[in-house]
Symmetry: C2
Subunit: 198 residues, 2 copies
Amino acid sequence: MTTNGRKLTPRGKERRQQLLDHATQRFAETGYHPTSVADIVGGVGVGKGVFYWYFDSKEQLFLELLAEAQRDLRRTQRDAIASEDDPLRRLEIGIRAAFRWWAGHPEIMNLLQFAATEKQFRPALRQGQSVALGDAVTHLKEAIAEGRITDGDPEELAHAIIGLTGHLSRELVHRRGDDPERVADLAVTLLFDGLRGR
Amino acid sequence: MTTNGRKLTPRGKERRQQLLDHATQRFAETGYHPTSVADIVGGVGVGKGVFYWYFDSKEQLFLELLAEAQRDLRRTQRDAIASEDDPLRRLEIGIRAAFRWWAGHPEIMNLLQFAATEKQFRPALRQGQSVALGDAVTHLKEAIAEGRITDGDPEELAHAIIGLTGHLSRELVHRRGDDPERVADLAVTLLFDGLRGR
DNA sequence: GGGGTTCTTGACCGCCTGGTCAAGTCGTCC
DNA sequence: GGACGACTTGACCAGGCGGTCAAGAACCCC
């Protein structure tokens, strides 16, 4: 569908999705390289040829996972933000939507983190990240123009936001199992007012 | 020395270090798995047996890199902080020291990030991280007790600090090549006073 | 029930990997 | 110069990998 051009019956789409899901779990738990194609098809209970019916290669499957996840997160954020005009509120709502999304997709974090460590995957990762960055930068620029936040390079501030929210998702929501809404509160107040508060 | 118990002459220690250095670079650039032992010894220009004279396995070499890096960063922070009493200042100096250290060891960031994505390496990573966390928590607790920062779970705040500083190191210092001191300023003011400032 | 397409099987292939080892060289102390 | 460790070599190995493919099963429309 996305890269491997093939007509798929409903049954075919389901198989394909099974493979994607299983691969995601395995990659997240064990790692990309230690997970063999044999592991993936074994987990689904099908022959090896099935994998290559739906995907060109293990690498292509991984790239598709990356792209789809980034697309989905962004869509979620856009929908959440759509009805809000105020830039600072948009930023806040986007952050909260991100926490909620990450809470529902803990495995993806691992995939993204892994993608950053290998040459062949970095470009694909970068692409999605720069989109997220751009979204945040837009709101930050507006907020700065309105004098609502202190002046500063919006791109740098956006990186700070992404870094903080990503890490808190990993450590508090995924690892510790904390409530994403509560952690989002923490992130927002911390980002807006800092450790010393107002 | 650390795990592989062997007497090393000065020449031996140098070889060993050569291998460690080369492996670090390759792992960071290409990734752990795609870098073969043959690549590593080839880069140093020695036979394969040399590798296994100094290390038990590729995995052990990697674990040693992890442990040594975490130890070194912590030592650097401790030394920087030693002469300061004020908890908030200790926190700030620790953050600045971290930025300086990361600026000098960009490759390590990749190794840590990779280690987080694979089952076998997560425990080793976790260990070092919890030490860093503990250090930050200590200062935060003191600062809270003195009423210098708003009340909150110190562990959560520490995670926020680590996440923000780590990401800014990666994105601004390593990727964009920004001056670490300037980025440290940004991180400190942002963490203490937030986007809205005081 | 014929025929076309989608889907599935699993033996098979070439390749490369981490790791071994018998053999040899180097350095140095007596 | 001999002898004893510290080091080095590179051919070699078993095993696992990603990927292929000829053969067949399942499904569906006529």
